[in-house]
Amino acid sequence: MTWAPLVSMSNLGVVISLAVIGGGLLWLLYRSLLAKEVDRRVIFLFILVSVAAPLLFPMTFEEQATPVVKAIFDKIESLPEGSRVLISFDFDPAMAPEVQPMANVVTQHCMVKGHKVIFMCLFATGQALLTQSLELIVSEQFPDKVDGIDYVNIGYKAGNEGVLNVIVSDFKKMFPTDVNSVPYDSIGVFKGIRSCKDLDMVFTIGGGKPGVKEWVLFVGDPGRVPVAGGVAAVVAPQMYPYYPKQLFGIMGGIKGAAEYESELRKTYPQFHDVDAPGLRMMGPQTLAHMVIMAFIVLGNVSFIVQKRRDRRRKR
């Protein structure tokens, strides 16, 4: 059990706001022990502070990776350097805020491990997001990686799951060139790769259709390729039936991304100073969750104290 450092205290603001929230809760606990109810406006104030504070003073919580997320991290970590990983951006701008952090963090991990990555997308609108991620992650953080040798962007092909049906046996038929019109056979990443079956793993991001499910049914199962997926939080429960046989790992929502980012920071400290959108966006949510749970506890404390008192009075 690792408690510390559960939260990184980046500056005075964080310390003060946490102290205010914690102190306030203690005071309320004291009042609850006297069986005094908390006014709803006090609760409202706590919620407002717990959401606003992490936004004003960036506050991140160390996330413990759940097994479903840890499985993806461990797999990428255990693959030997130079393994071929396919990352598919199967989402549109509407889904992007929730799932793009996952795509980015897995890209970071693959790059730092020295895997060779094939980027593609099944959504026409995913193309722009893919380019954006490549610029943000690969060009900025890994300037020495070379297009074509360390990674390749083969872009979008229309046909939804039909595309998968083809590439599971033949990449070149569907993607004769990459987005820069470099012919398949002159792309270093593809050396020795004929189809998806030759890949070491596939990571697909997107809760829509085609998405994770189609990758499992059309590539993972028939091609016996390890597939992992990242989806929006609301879709995640629908993916669990595929775990662990057909999907070796799942990331659900911002929380999934945050867990992965945490894990990555633990193993590669150099990422501590790099922006981690998952962890950043989880800050206010986690704090608000904890405040709500604290209030549930407070409610029960004052309820039990009240009940005891009533019983004593009856006697």
Partner: protein, 233 residues
């Protein structure tokens, strides 16, 4: 101009949030603006979409030509007049003497809603859910797509327990909803189990939605501190 829009939005945002403290003039103003403008907004949208878009262009289709100049205007849909006639009957309420005639379109609406939903809900809620619950508890014999042979795939223990839980939960939940028997004895005990399942469902769904509710507030706070005040880097 954009600055003004941000300021208006910020003031209105604060007006609504101030309601949490107590009802006040600022909230009342925001509410009055909200009600007036949104009522007008929806009337305009419905008017252009339905009266113009569906009725007018359906009854008097605009002339259209294909690339070669042939007329490909669609035939007018005379059925739409029935809708308009019913709509006009609705307006008869304004004339007290024949106001009762507005019950005809009302009767039409009630009839069509009940007719449409009867089969709809029955098939998607009852039939499909019953079918979804009919499942093997322990595992399946799926056909391997590559070799064509079938292998028994036992489910993990958690899923087997889960399947049994689903069976018990659906069954006892239905017992709870039974109207024609008092909740007593074995029947009552089963109904009690049903209530427990419903409570787990409600508690779990409540807990699950909290996070998405928080993100809405995060959006608003982000707007106030970031876009408006520029405090967030």
């Amino acid at each position: 101009m954009e600055h003004l829009a941000v300021w208006i939005a910020a003031l209105l945002t604060l007006g609504i949030i101030s309601f949490l403290y107590k009802d006040n003039a600022w909230y009342k103003l925001s509410e009055a603006i909200f009600v007036g403008i949104s009522a007008g907004y929806w009337f305009v949208v419905l008017f252009w979409d339905n009266v113009h878009g569906k009725f007018w262009t359906g009854v008097f289709p605009p002339e259209q030509y294909d690339a070669a100049g042939n007329v490909i205007t669609e035939a007018p849909d005379y059925m739409l007049w029935v809708g308009a006639a019913l709509g006009i009957l609705m307006l008869m309420r304004l004339i007290p003497k024949i106001g009762w005639i507005s019950r005809w379109p009302l009767a039409f609406i009630v009839g069509s809603t009940s007719g449409l939903y009867l089969i709809n809900y029955f098939s998607s809620n009852m039939m499909r859910q019953v079918q979804g619950t009919i499942m093997p508890l322990f595992g399946m014999w799926p056909t391997d797509p590559t070799t064509g042979e079938t292998v028994f795939q036992a489910l993990p223990t958690y899923d087997i327990v889960g399947n049994v839980v689903i069976l018990v939960g659906v069954f006892s939940g239905l017992v709870y909803f039974f109207f024609s028997k008092e909740h007593r004895g074995v029947f009552g005990a089963t109904a009690k189990v049903g209530i427990f399942f419903l409570m787990v469902t409600f508690g779990a769904s409540f807990g699950y939605t909290v996070m998405s509710r928080m993100s809405l507030l995060i959006g608003r706070v982000d707007f106030l501190f970031g876009t408006w005040l520029g405090l967030i880097k």
